[in-house]
């Protein structure tokens, strides 16, 4: 794990997690490396228990790349969160990203996908 040497605390993730009602809204600002992804997965699962969240919405609209590790991590996260009682939706996948994922043969079988934040929230509410 990368540690900020001056404060000895973990470097904050380039992603924000907001709590909205019973949902967690996660927006990822820049591409995450493998370690950061794993950390995000862990943090989110913690938050699901702590906030008693019923849904997780992950917004990846800012990303122009989503590699197979990231896709798998998100997919696993969706399953783990479901085991703790929260449904996951990934929103904002750009057309180019979608095509790359398909070409790589990567699927997000366990996560629901939606066009954007609005659609995602609607699905979580349903």
């Amino acid at each position: 794990m990368s540690i900020d040497t001056s404060t000895n605390a973990p470097v904050p993730l380039p992603a924000s997690v907001l709590s909205q009602g019973s949902n967690l809204i996660v927006s990822i600002h820049t591409a995450l490396d493998d370690e950061q992804l794993t950390r995000l997965q862990h943090d989110l699962l913690d938050r699901v228990g702590r906030d008693r969240a019923r849904g997780i919405l992950i917004d990846v609209a800012a990303l122009d790349v989503l590699d197979s590790f990231a896709a798998r991590t998100l997919s696993e996260l969706a399953y783990m969160a479901l085991l703790r009682g929260a449904r996951t939706v990934v929103v904002g996948i750009a057309p180019e990203v979608a095509m790359t994922l398909v070409r790589l043969g990567v699927h997000l079988p366990l996560a629901h996908t939606a066009l954007d934040l609005e659609e995602g929230l609607e699905w979580l509410a349903s």
Partner: protein
Amino acid sequence: MSDHTETEPVAETIHQDDEALLPELVAHLRAHRTDLRQQWAERITQAHLLSAMTAQEVFSEATSVYDNYVEVLETGSVEALQHYARDLSERIIPRGVETHEVVGIVLLLRDVLARSLFEKYRDDFDLLNRVLDAYEPAANRIANTVAVSFVEQRERVIRDQQDALLELSTPVLQVRERLLILPIIGVLDAARAQQLTEQLLHAIRAHRAKLVVIDITGVPNVDKSVANSLVDTVTASRLMGADAIITGLSSEIAQTLVTIGVDLSKMHTVGDLQGGIEEAERQLGFRVSKEPDEH
């Protein structure tokens, strides 16, 4: 063939520099122009080349090619020939002239001219060798130039046609709020599938579509690769949050797909476009009803 060779003093030519050989050769080819051209045209007909053109046309093109050929030998510059070859290709490609025919006639001319040189210099093997040394590279260059010009021209035509095809390729249309239809007509190859997917995904975002009806009634052959690209298209649109309904699978296609073992069970398929749109409307919560007839 008329024979002037014996009147020429061999002793005189033998001491000439090799650079002087080409002009001599050019002079020879100019002097026998009518005769050699005639021979060449006959050989073209015999070999059944350029069958798409009339004898008249073949002869007039043969004349131009011959003159260009001699000019290249004389000046060593292929520029004019290149220009002519491009022009010629432009004229004959639409008439269905094949690459092998064009290469064939140039090689025939090379052969006809070489034979006439053999005949002219047959008494002096050493000189013949040097003449051929001067002739061969130039002749090869000409053959090369013509063939390359022809192929380039053809490729340009093909590229233009491909671009035109892609442009009028496939419209993505909105029929209801958040419902798109994508009628695919014609052969679906990898490049087109890719382009089509890209178009569809952008349309999904632009129209905020929730459902897409992909109609493949107009796709003549659906094989494994077409089926797989359809699956990819559907998967990609699901990642964008839009579900897809495939319509227009004919009974033949359905049979083929099952026989070759393509699994489309994860796809949502409906018989025809109308059924697809009706199903989509139901899923989106639209209710279309016919007004009762008024009596």
